[in-house]
Symmetry: C6
Subunit: 218 residues, 6 copies
């Protein structure tokens, strides 16, 4: 029912998510990548599953999540000559996270404070959007911080995916063939491809505990 | 019941839509052009029908759609000395698409992020318009991107229609005569007219698969 | 019940509407001018009736309508030394049309796009005014276009009425005398007055088909 | 029940209204001035009654009304060393009229157009204030026009009352004594006072038809 | 139940109100000062009672009231090294009065007009805050006038209280001892303290009728 | 159920709160520090309990409270290389207090006035956020004051915690071991650690009555 060119685009998009999640420190492990449509909303999906229950997220984990969201559209851009509408939800979620980093978590140059002026208003459940107390100029500074976060992580993610272009294409072929790739097979495809290019296969697994990877990223 | 000068204007308007849809790569094929009024809302219509089910739209497809929306008023402008109110809905839809390209799909110089600040607010169904979190200056940048998209596609579409002016006029006469033109006849009229001007008739059909046309457009 | 000076002012106001509608190409013919009060709202009225059913309006027709709305207050200004509150509704409607030309119909230097940001919000019927998505600077540009349209048409209309001052005064006397003037008599008064001034009487009837008049106006 | 100093202030305030209404062309005649409190709202009142039913107001009549509203606080300022809260409603009404002159009636340098952007919104009856479509800069221009109107009429009214200071004081004494002054007696007091100062008593009655007075004011 | 340091702070705060009310011309006489808590809201209070029913307030009376509101926090500042949250309601009321002077009563450099744009909106009772019609720049001018009024009266009040520091401290001790001081005793304490410092005791009672005091203040 | 690295982070965060509360004059004594999760919301908590009922807060007490709120995230920053989302609520509360200092309590350079323009609107209970009457420029000044307060207190708190780094780490180990530390044990750990570093243990208890500590801080 899905046109072949759309099916390929979806596979590329999902493999983008999966590869960036795999190679980015502080990212939850990829559990499954699929291009079997799930109901109305999703044409494909990449499922990450944390190894343990989590209650907090660090700045680096938030950044890794933003990078993973941006990876789908970047992969499309690399493989086709125009991006598609398929990234709308990814961009919303990436922007929401970047906004929360600036406005809720004090993770920007604007300092360790909150810019949600009426936090209680969101509990009212009457759909009333919250009123902005801060000034236009502060709103502009917030915009610039958010855009700075997104742009920086976009560049990092693009560089990463360009480095892994061969794996991306290899993985896309496999996904088109099998429709679902589980985490073990994902690892195999990546390691096989890296082995064939002379890259040591276990780099990522070494990096995959939080404390180590953080030391390297900063 | 419709005055002859209005009927001619409607025919010109619809033929504008039809011709631009026909000649623009990444456009869905034209199924039917009609100037038989359909109830209260539409005095004429141009029906496009995708060849397969579609789930995604690329930037080029969105641009083709905007061009097709703009084509009606451009055709009026070419044939009469004043445009009419008939383009109101076309302009709304063209602007909405351009706005979505900038605000939802990351398809502008403002980067791969979302500018709908409270996407959930639109699900509330209480008619409450969403609150803007971003600043005036960001709103201005969004305006400029939207206007840049519309103006650029307007010029492209105008150039295309001026190139095809003879066909536009020929097709308008036929539509006034027959009231409905189906896709086969549309193709015949265009090919006949092009043949008589020494232009190879099959240009468009060659271009009409997505991957080819994209390579040419960019 | 109406004071004589107010009755004269109303007659002048209505004759302003009627004369400008008569002499402006692209205007619907004047059916009746009356200074018999109609209920609470209207002290006098000028009734225009299109010759056929209409489904579209061209830019020139919209401009003619704005000119006709502005004509009442301009006539007052010419005959008295202060304008009155009687033009409030005329100014609202003239401004609404000019705003629609800029925001809905793409008939200004701001280009062929729509500036009603949430067109669907107007269908909600809950009285919620629509939210503005575009920026202050764009709003300012829209204001300037609207004002430019109104000011330009104001000057044109004033020049026209000053040229026809003798007819305006003659027609006012007749309306004060008879209270109602129908379209045949309107034409007679105008032609008689023009004849007595050596002006050919049939100028307007010649101009009254759209295509001709447009060629002259532009 | 009212303190003597407040009673005097109220008398001065009302005599200010009455004198300016009396001496300003285009003003309705003063029917009665009273300092007998009327219920909760009014401590005193000046009643004007038009000579005939009125359906329109000219710019000059609106200006005369604004001057009459401003006269109460100006009279207080002349007789006491601080103005009081008693002018709140007068200032609201004067400002509302000046705003309507600019926004509804086209009586300012901003031109013959309406600045009430959603006139229909006011009919909704749900207390929703109307949304502003025009820009900040236009709002600023409107503010400046309104303030210009108020300031100009304030100066004119002050000059008038300073010229009539002796009458103001004479009339205040009479009002404190009698509590109510009807229009005949008002005229007598003014004429007597003017006679004693060598000023011809019938100036105002001569001016009191609209067309004459307008010629003089402009 | 109240900690001794808080009880002392409350006493200082209330004595600040009482002394400024006592020494400021155009202020209503102080009826009672108390530090016996009244229910949830008030830890202490200063009760002023006008000598007669009042219907109007002059600018000087409004200023005196603002000074009295500011006096509590100024007294705290003089006696302790940090002000407290106890002045929140005083500051709201002082600011509301200053705002009303500018926006409702025409008592600022912005002129004799009203800046409440939709006075009727406040009668709707649906909690809808009124819409601002005036521009940002006008809002800024209003802010500056309000701040100018508050700052000027703050300095005057501070100077007054610094002059009366000895009385403030004497009165505070007495209030801590007795919990309630009625107006007769207030006068005695002040007169006794002033006598012991060689200041004539009856200065304020001489000033306490409005007309005299106004002549002195201006 | 909580991952060890998260458990350590929570302990560090809570010990940050506890130590700053302990060492900051004008802070309520720490009653208990816990990393036993309490229901859904809190992963750990630091409980302060005032020694007596309190009815007022001084500026210094508000500042101490802000410092205590900021201490959790500062401690995280010192011990890990990225802060976490765990400070969201702390930052909201710190910002709310700083905003209240500026807008409600007159504790900034903007003067002794209130910037909550419609205080009554908050009593309406209909979730309608209050309307801002003051201007953009004033809103910007408020933003700058709030940010100045937060930044200044952030630096002070960071300096304090860096001075006490050894105690922070010692206390964290103990909390990880015992899960709950009550106030007596908190004091013992701190005194023991300070003794071992040659710092007199009773500094804070000397400072802990308000009047003394204020003299030192200012």
């Amino acid at each position: 029912m899905i046109r072949p060119d759309e099916r390929r685009r979806i596979a590329v998009h999902e493999c983008g998510h999966a590869l960036v999640a795999y190679f980015t420190p502080n990212s939850d492990p990829v559990h499954k990548v699929s291009i079997i449509p799930r109901g109305l909303a999703a044409l494909g999906y990449t499922l990450q599953r944390p190894e343990d229950d989590r209650y907090l997220m660090t700045r680096k984990e938030l950044e890794a999540r933003i990078q993973t969201f941006l990876a789908g559209t970047i992969a499309e851009e690399m493989e086709f000559d125009a991006v598609s509408t398929g990234a709308q939800n990814d961009l919303e979620r990436a922007t929401d996270l970047a906004r929360a980093m600036v406005m809720d978590f004090g993770m920007s140059r604007l300092g360790r404070m909150s810019f949600r002026d009426n936090p209680r208003a969101t509990f009212l459940g009457n759909g009333m959007p919250q009123q902005r107390l801060h000034s236009e100029e502060t709103a502009r500074e917030i915009d610039q911080e958010i855009r700075g976060i997104i742009d920086g992580l976009f560049q990092q993610t693009k560089t990463l995916l360009e480095d892994k272009k061969a794996i991306l294409e290899r993985l896309t072929e496999r996904l088109l063939e099998k429709e679902i790739i589980e985490n073990e097979e994902l690892k195999e495809v990546i390691e096989a491809q890296e082995a064939s290019s002379g890259i040591p296969a276990d780099v990522h697994s070494l990096e995959n505990t939080e404390s180590d990877s953080q030391a390297k990223l900063q």
